[in-house]
């Protein structure tokens, strides 16, 4: 479980997160939703100790994020950010190899090579393995970064809008893969803008607005016309399909 307790966060005196507390259950796919600027990425960064906590506590599997050695946390959780630019000029295989850093500290063995190969296959990247990242399309680059995160093989995965740039087939395949991992006992926290992906695949939703948690619960509970209208300040219809909410956000 990830336990977020009384987290407040400010940047230059502006409140970004206010009194955020939530428990993210283990062995489930948890989706963070909310309008632009709601604070989803900030919360994910604080959970992933990318930014230092200002007040409050975050603990992952009872390891306090503020005090546990970073190297130990890297074996516990993988984080994929929203910004994918890399300064070094790397080949796809090399980038994915960095996912193994927490395990091998730069001295990869057979297990690490196997993990990199599996990630290449999993994200249809074998034909691009020896290409430079700046020679890939946006979606291919996104998949390369996802492959690196998967190669880290951690119990927890924190993914910030991983569907960016992905086509329909790869989006669905990714969500399916995440739910398979969930079935294998791993846990996923994922920031999503496409509410229907959240409705179809997430076990638990947390809706954020203006730096606060606006609602949380199952898809049934959160994806109602009333909640969504308040969250996004725009009217939206919600139908039902195959026993799940279907949000008509595009019309």
């Amino acid at each position: 479980m990830i336990r977020v307790a009384d987290v407040n966060h400010q940047i230059d005196g502006n409140p970004i997160l206010t009194n955020v507390s939530c428990d993210i259950p283990q062995g489930e796919v948890t989706a963070l939703i909310g309008p632009n600027g709601a604070g989803k990425s900030t919360l994910l960064k604080l959970m992933g100790r990318i930014e230092p906590l200002q007040t409050g506590h975050v603990a992952i599997n009872d390891l306090d994020v503020g005090t546990t050695p970073s190297g130990q946390l890297a074996l516990e959780m993988a984080y994929l950010g929203q910004n994918l630019s890399v300064a070094s000029r790397l080949r796809v295989r090399e980038l994915i190899g960095f996912g193994r850093w927490p395990h091998c500290k730069g001295h990869p063995g057979p297990v690490d090579h196997a993990a990199v190969h599996d990630a290449l296959v999993m994200f249809d990247l074998v034909p691009f393995a020896d290409r430079f990242l700046d020679e890939l399309s946006g979606g291919q680059a996104q998949r390369a970064h996802l492959a690196m995160t998967f190669a880290q093989t951690t119990p927890w995965m924190l993914l910030d809008e991983p569907l960016n740039n992905l086509d329909m087939a790869h989006s669905r395949a990714l969500m399916k893969r995440l739910s398979d991992l969930r079935d294998a006992g791993r846990s996923v926290v994922i920031v999503l803008h496409d509410l229907n992906h959240a409705a179809a695949w997430a076990d638990h939703l947390i809706a954020m607005k203006n730096g606060r948690i606006a609602a949380s619960g199952t898809a049934e509970e959160v994806l109602t016309p009333q909640t969504l209208a308040a969250l996004y300040e725009t009217d939206v219809q919600v139908l039902r399909y195959a026993g799940r909410p279907l949000v008509l956000h595009h019309i």
Partner: protein, 336 residues
């Protein structure tokens, strides 16, 4: 069975060919040849004396080359770009200012009396502390805005140079002259009084850099990703900047400020190393850069001094070409 036997010699040949294509190997061979030419070309008369002199100069060139190369690559990794160098960011100007400041604070006679090596260590220490304070705060949060970095560098460089000038004016002209003699690069007249300590520090710095190399690879992924992978980001940034400051001190103390030399070296090193898989890794990149720098310096100095008969031309040519390369990178927008 017979097939494997038949393949065997072919395979070994191919393995040998792969080895020879390794840039570290062929650059080492090239450097060795350059050094031999430098040492033994046109040797006549007082062998022992001339060889000793040439060896001293050679050691200075090798030290400066590796110090500039390693500091530039490390700085580019920390600042996440391919266009900035420590000198463009004003590191060497900072060193000259610290030098002037120390002379001003401690007095010419007193400070000069303690000997070249201790003096150099004090200057390098002061420089490293200042560099960490200034650039540490700039880079700890991760380098995001490249334009702002370039601007900051230009401003800091000018500021430090103006600072040296100001302090120099307050000092008496005599004292200022001793400082100013190291304000311009000159590869042929290295300040060999600090060669021993400078070379030692450079070797140490290179060993530490190679030891930390896998960590610098992770640092090159950018702050967020490095932290996510468990790298102690702040500490590695400080280590890299510390190494940069120390190595820049060495090269500046030996030959004076070299503005664009590091840029050429880093550009060449990336181009050479990138052609093979794993070439972005510092374990390859750092030695390749150091070898390229040493080849350019030793080969270039041999050419200008022995063929052209012009001792002091190399730095001018290198700076000119480096400046053109800098412009080229800027105009092509290849700043990442």
């Amino acid at each position: 069975m017979s097939e494997t036997v038949l393949q065997h010699p072919n395979l070994r040949l191919r393995q040998a060919a792969t080895w020879l294509r390794h840039p570290v190997l062929w650059l080492s061979i090239a450097l060795f040849l350059f050094c031999m030419i430098w040492l033994f070309q046109g040797l006549s008369g007082n062998y022992e004396f001339i060889l000793k002199l040439r060896m001293k100069k050679l050691a200075a060139l090798l030290t400066v080359g590796s110090a500039v190369a390693v500091s530039t690559i490390l700085f580019q990794t920390v600042s996440a770009n391919r266009i900035l160098t420590p000198s463009i960011m004003g590191f060497d100007a900072l060193y000259v200012m610290m030098q002037t400041l120390l002379v001003a604070a401690l007095g010419t006679t007193g400070f000069a009396m303690i000997g070249a090596a201790p003096k150099f260590i004090v200057e390098t220490g002061a420089m490293t502390v200042m560099a960490l304070l200034l650039f540490g705060t700039l880079l700890r949060k991760g380098a995001r805005d490249i334009t702002r970095m370039i601007l900051t560098g230009v401003i800091l460089g000018t500021l430090f140079r103006a600072g040296s000038g100001l302090i120099g004016r307050v000092l008496d002209p005599n004292a200022f002259a001793t400082v100013q003699s190291v304000s311009f690069a000159n590869f042929s007249r290295a300040h060999t009084d600090v060669l021993g300590i400078g070379a030692t520090i450079t070797v140490l710095g290179c060993v530490i850099a190679m030891w930390l190399a896998p960590r610098f690879d992770v640092l090159g992924l950018g702050r967020d990703r490095a932290i996510a992978l468990g790298l102690p980001h702040g500490r590695i940034v400080v280590a890299a900047l510390g190494l940069v400051a120390v190595l820049v001190s060495v090269s500046t103390a030996l030959v004076g400020p070299v503005a664009f030399f590091g840029l050429i070296v880093a550009g060449l090193a990336h181009a050479i190393a990138q052609r093979r898989p794993g070439g972005a890794h510092h374990r390859i990149l750092l030695p390749v850069a150091a070898l390229v720098a040493m080849c350019v310096l030793v080969g270039g100095q041999t050419f200008f001094e022995r063929v052209m008969g012009q001792q002091a031309t190399l730095s001018v040519v290198v700076e000119f070409l480096g400046g053109l390369f800098f412009l080229f990178l800027l105009l092509k927008g290849k700043i990442r």
